[in-house]
Subunit: 358 residues, 2 copies
């Protein structure tokens, strides 16, 4: 935690601030150890304030005993008074802060106004993505945790799809997957499991329904177990019974694009360049306009985080980034094919953490 706080202070100093106000739940977790999520955008579970000599997680009375137990030294937990925004402004004053960097992407207009109201002459400067960026390169221990989450995810897919018969509903299969992740030791699903059968697969994001899965149709399964706050992310597209020729064709097209991406992508490429590797192959096969999302995204304490691998992304891949590689094609009325693996970026390529068969 000491090293993380040092890097946070440096990032704040780089934009002229002598304190950092951390409001994003994943950043709060990373820099304090307190794992709580926020109930809603207007219901924060706590705010971390890091100044030159202090690092305090402020939270409500209800969460305080939990926070006291969870924060890692030298962070301490203290109770706030409501409204916490004004309380925070006063705290910044008592700490003698001159300029505080805040997360403008994760602080509401109302809370910002509350802090400023009580912060007097203290300047508040937006940090943009500066605090997020500090979480992008994962430590060995973080990679080990993510690898464990990926292993549980692989095993849960295998367990849940063993002896699967047509007629099971999307919802029932999603639940089997969730229960298998739990039984294998996950702390929970990192995001709602997607099971999208037949035409539903044309929606990259989809709420599992009561639709019964039919023989021969594509079934997109997107899932990830959480371990120690870190989420895995895995997609497989399966087919019950004998796959029809168009399934096999499309599947092999996506698989080939994914394999090429797994082989060619490496550190120092931009998100745009990485995306292009798979996009060119899908375009050549006539599916360019059916690959409706980016190739992948960073994964960590958030399921979607820096860097982005997409056609408009200038993010640059670095060794230690953990990213998904997930090309897909989506055909209205027919369904979708998506194949996704979780990978660690290395100087020379990608280490693939996912091992579920394709």
């Amino acid at each position: 935690m000491i090293d993380r706080l040092r890097r946070l202070r440096e990032a704040a100093a780089a934009i002229g601030a002598d304190a950092a106000i951390v409001t994003h739940p994943a950043n709060r977790h990373y820099f304090s150890g307190f794992p709580a999520n926020d109930h809603a955008p207007d219901e924060s579970s706590g705010i971390l304030v890091v100044a030159e000599d202090t690092a305090v997680l402020f939270t409500g009375q209800t969460n305080l005993p939990w926070a006291e137990n969870a924060v890692r030294p030298p962070v301490t937990a203290r109770e706030w008074n409501r409204p916490w925004s004004e309380f925070l402004g006063q705290e910044l004053q008592s700490l003698g802060v001159r300029c505080a960097a805040f997360e403008d992407r994760a602080l509401s207009v109302s809370d910002h106004a509350g802090i400023q109201r009580e912060a007097g002459e203290i300047r508040l400067v937006p940090a943009g993505n500066a605090f997020h960026a500090l979480r992008a390169v994962k430590s060995k221990q973080e990679v080990a945790t993510i690898a464990e989450a990926a292993q549980i995810t692989d095993a849960a897919l295998e367990a849940a799809t063993l002896n699967l018969s047509p007629g099971i509903t999307e919802k029932a299969l999603a639940w089997r997957i969730e229960a298998a992740m739990h039984d294998l030791g996950a702390d929970g699903p990192g995001f709602p499991v997607i099971v999208a059968a037949g035409p539903h697969g044309a929606r990259p994001h989809h709420d599992p329904s009561d639709r019964a899965i039919e023989e021969g149709e594509p079934v997109v399964i997107d899932m990830g177990a959480i371990v120690g706050g870190y989420t895995a992310d895995l997609t497989r597209t399966i087919c019950l019974g004998q796959p029809p020729p168009e399934f096999i064709d499309r599947y092999n097209t996506v698989l080939s694009a994914q394999r090429r991406a797994l082989t060619e992508i490496r550190a120092a490429m931009s998100g745009r360049e990485a995306d292009a590797v798979a996009r060119e192959e899908l375009s050549a096969a006539g599916y360019g306009d059916r690959f409706v999302h980016g190739l992948g995204h960073g994964v960590g304490l958030n399921i979607h985080e820096f860097p982005s691998l997409g056609k408009d992304s200038d993010d640059v891949l670095e060794p230690g980034h953990v990213v998904t590689i997930e090309p897909g094609v989506y055909l209205e009325g027919w369904g979708g094919i998506r194949i996704e693996d979780l990978c660690v970026v290395t100087p020379t390529g990608l280490d693939v953490l996912s091992a579920a068969p394709k």
Copy 2:
């Protein structure tokens, strides 16, 4: 949906706006039908814009097919371009909006700046809680859905605690509860199930751990099933084996305070007055400073929403509000007792939706 949009337009007009920008996930759900949650404060699943003649849910390409399927007429779904904040500013211009009300408690400083950058002369005015307030009084259909969620929650507690023996861990019991809610037809848990045994019960909020539950200690169980987006909320405190005298004493003290609250609270009381009913009784028993949270909160598409029943709350109870009544006492080193029911406010009292035995 037409009636909801009419009330939304009226609320915007009341603060001088001819359009509303809806960014809070629960409000977006309520006013559009699109049930997606946001992945993180800086990762919105969609923004609803309601102007004089239009109601459009803007979202990314990945979510668009889902959103198109989920929105209820007259709301339509359309794709945004990124960054969506600037795109939205341009849209407000094309719609001829003069003044747009936005949710200052659920719009980030950065997104607000993006909208303003492209919105030219259009004024953006903060709506505060005005849009939330429109969800506070529940329709008959909403109450019926919440009652169903409450029934499933009651039944899940009964199923999960049947034949419970000491030695089961908090985590294992939490999972039994989650699985029972699923088996009984819930769409999921509305919030992470709390099982806090022995000293852990001194924390009102707690992550279930590997601690094995011992005979004779208090076990606080806080849980709620989701049905159709609406969450139930139920807490019971149980004891495996023969409860020791101090458990019985404390339990009866909390139960008596809760019964009094259930009997005396009615519409037209303030949140402060409602809270005082139970607080006075707990104080008289010497536990005033151990009742460390408010008496209750509104429940609906959010687990915590308007109105608040607490010692600083000026919210006024109205018929059709759905609220929790949950007094509790927390003793460091020993544990906690909390008893919570879900209730509908009526002109003359409270209709209790929870039926789990106490």
